[in-house]
């Protein structure tokens, strides 16, 4: 090695860095980019994840692939359920990659973090995966819409229907996380408003494998209904073990507050039968949902969850609003979205409130018995349709500054 070479290498490093940076900045300027920021690999990958990207791409294709004379591109990334990862990706997408709108956003902590980024950058986010009603409550933002469902609508759906059917005493098994507490809080309010009472609750750390101890406590409470204020693997394991401990056979009923069709499919009907749950969308509702779901199934070999379907609906309406507004400006697009009813085969009878919540019909389903099911994905029967005004009515009023005063 000689002295000249010693200087060449550092210089080469600098040059390479410049090249990389230049390459990264070279984006085609006239494309509209939509970002799918989802849990691609972990706990919630099955209810959103890669399937969400597929759904968004389907919406873009159905829309025609371009808007305002620009090509539409879909970008996607894995936020790993970490708000810091999510927020730095979202910032970079907005600031550098020309992303106009971010959708999916599973996990409440992630959605809240990205909502703050969107607020600062004045960009649109359409939340489909996260549950927390705080997104349109005390943390509400002018350019975000909570599209598919929230803890309030789940509580109103399952809570009210179950109490009216005679399930007037409750015991909660709650994930010791903010979304679990929000679900418990919102459901308790609904149960009490309908004349039921809550006998007790137990807070369970996230990712607990064994629920038998908590199920025994629920048994001892003699409550008629055991409300599961948890999600993902926790919900699956608690339902599975409830069957093992003869909870349902003993006369108590389970109410899943945040259970998705992917969870029920993975549990199997033998275990999940009789479970009541609220969803915004089920693939087997009518011909239109079946036709769309078949196209989705052909790409993913799974039926869509409400989150994935919600991503399709949100993307479609976003693009239509961009077209109608004739602009990508966030305020104009949101104004356009809020000005019209949201009504397609996924989201029915909907309209967007000033707090950013999309109020629409929700459905109470019961999981079929194995004998009632005719196919692998024939899982639910419809019990009731809950009109949007009832489903999204906050039991305690809203802290969102945009609507409070």
């Amino acid at each position: 090695m000689n002295g000249r070479f010693a200087a060449v290498l550092p210089a080469a490093l600098l040059a390479a860095a410049l090249l990389v940076a230049g390459g990264a900045g070279a984006q085609s300027p006239d494309a509209v980019r939509i970002g799918v920021l989802a849990d691609m690999s972990s706990l919630y990958a099955d209810l959103g994840g890669p399937g969400s990207t597929v759904a968004v791409q389907m919406a873009v294709d159905d829309f025609g692939g371009s808007v305002l004379g620009k090509k539409i591109e879909v970008v996607s990334a894995d936020h790993q359920n970490k708000p810091d990862v999510a927020s730095s990706i979202a910032r970079q997408w907005f600031d550098e990659k020309g992303v106009q709108m971010i959708t999916d956003l599973t996990t409440s902590s992630v959605a809240l973090a990205v909502q703050e980024v969107a607020r600062a950058d004045n960009k649109v986010i359409l939340v489909n995966g996260a549950a927390s009603s705080d997104l349109t409550g005390k943390a509400c933002a002018p350019t975000s819409v909570h599209w598919t469902y929230d803890t309030v609508s789940l509580a109103n759906g399952t809570g009210a229907a179950v109490v009216k059917a005679g399930g007037d005493s409750w015991f909660f098994i709650t994930a010791d996380y903010a979304f679990g507490h929000a679900l418990e809080r919102d459901t308790t309010a609904v149960v009490e408003a309908n004349g039921g009472k809550v006998l007790g609750a137990v807070n369970v750390p996230l990712n607990t494998a064994d629920f038998s101890s908590f199920l025994l406590q629920a048994q001892q409470s003699k409550a008629k209904i055991i409300g599961l204020a948890n999600a993902g693997g926790d919900a699956i394991n608690s339902i599975k073990q409830a069957a093992e401990f003869g909870i349902v056979a003993g006369g108590q009923k389970l109410a899943g507050l945040l259970v998705f069709v992917s969870d029920v499919h993975s549990l199997g009907l033998q275990t999940a039968q009789g479970l009541q749950l609220t969803e915004a969308f089920y693939w087997d509702q009518d011909d239109k949902t079946r036709a769309w779901s078949k196209r989705f199934f052909d790409k993913t070999h799974k039926e869509p969850t409400m989150v994935q379907a919600g991503n399709y609906s949100a993307t479609m309406h976003y693009l239509e609003a961009v077209k109608a507004a004739g602009s990508l400006d966030s305020a104009a697009v949101i104004k356009e979205l809020k000005s019209k009813p949201i009504d397609d085969f996924i989201i029915r009878n909907g309209h967007i409130h000033d707090d950013g919540s999309l109020v629409h019909d929700m459905y109470l389903y019961e999981v079929k018995k194995p004998t009632e099911s005719t196919a692998e994905w024939d899982l639910y029967k419809l019990i009731a349709t809950i009109p949007g005004d009832q489903a999204f009515k906050r039991p305690r009023g809203n802290e969102c500054p945009a609507v409070k005063g």
């Binding site: 972990s42 064994d210 038998s212 048994q219 001892q220 693997g233 599975k240 073990q241």
Partner: protein, 298 residues
């Protein structure tokens, strides 16, 4: 008609039920930490891939059923051998290269392995998991007066206790076990006696991995068979082994069951802390008895 009518009489019977449930969990901890302790004892490797190997055991049971229609009972034998064979390959190809290095490197290597294995399974099977039902012979439950005990849970306790005691017996009371212990103390000397120590090491790692897989098969009907099941439990099992004393077989078994009980009680009195209590105990034990409850002083 069911037992929880009696549980209403607080608190002794209810507490008893919770303790029994804790004991059941303890038997999983014991079985898992047993494998970990055996591996550490002879290889001086902290096998971070143990959770992934436990998960592979459960998946193996599912593959057998789904692909070839082979049920639970054969799986209980086949899965440990299959996953154990994978373990042997891992030892031969990777871990062997770390012989003589600080055991932190073994920890880091197996940590990497766990990431790879779990990532691959997640990529293929998603995260919500696959169903596996309780074998027909063990469906149902027994009314014990103070609680409804599912037959399968009873089987788990009995079976795991049997395996633990058998393993302890082999290691502490047989010639093979004596060789193993001797090789741990002084590998060169044992080698000099004409024993193929590297092969002994390989087989031991395979056996430890097989125990993890066995626990996986036992867990499959209770927990969802999911790529994440091992990642959630590994760090707890780790703590169990450290509390028992690294490498101590008896320590792993006893502290596995004991921590199951303590965790069970925590779930009643302070459920939020039931995942953390184990670390509180680990910190306390290490401060008072640095080598763990049953470990020899370092």
């Amino acid at each position: 008609m069911f037992s929880w009518l009696h549980i209403a009489m607080p608190p002794a019977p209810a507490l008893f039920a919770q303790l029994l449930v804790g004991l059941i969990n303890g038997s999983f901890y014991a079985l898992l930490s047993l494998g970990l302790a055996i591996i550490f004892g002879l290889l001086n490797i902290i096998n971070f891939a143990h959770g992934a190997q436990y998960m592979m055991g459960a998946f193996c049971a599912w593959f057998l059923l789904d692909w070839w229609g082979i049920g639970y009972w054969p799986a209980l034998v086949i899965a440990p051998f299959a996953v154990g064979a994978v373990g042997i390959a891992i030892e031969r190809l990777l871990l062997r290269r770390l012989a003589g290095l600080d055991h932190l490197y073994g920890l880091l290597l197996t940590f990497g392995l766990a990431l790879v294995i779990e990532g691959l399974f997640r990529q293929r099977y998603g995260s919500s998991g696959l169903p596996y039902t309780i074998p027909a012979e063990l469906i149902g439950g027994k009314n014990l007066g103070f609680m409804f005990l599912p037959v399968y849970r009873g089987w788990v306790v009995v079976f795991s206790l049997t395996v633990c005691l058998a393993t302890w017996f082999v290691i502490e009371r047989t010639r093979l076990g004596a060789l193993l212990r001797a090789a741990t103390e002084n590998a060169t000397l044992v080698q000099a006696f004409g024993i193929d120590v590297p092969r002994l090491v390989t087989l031991t790692y395979g056996a430890g991995v097989a125990l993890a897989a066995l626990a996986g098969v036992l867990a499959a009907p209770i927990y969802q068979v999911s790529p994440l099941m091992g990642a959630n439990i590994i760090i707890v099992v780790f703590a169990v082994v450290v509390i028992g004393g690294m490498g101590s077989i008896l320590g792993a078994i006893v502290s596995g069951f004991a921590l199951g009980l303590i965790e069970g009680l925590t779930k009643v009195f302070y459920p939020e802390a039931s995942n953390t209590i184990i670390f509180v105990i680990m910190a306390l034990v290490l401060l008072v008895k640095p080598a763990g409850l049953f470990g020899r002083a370092a």
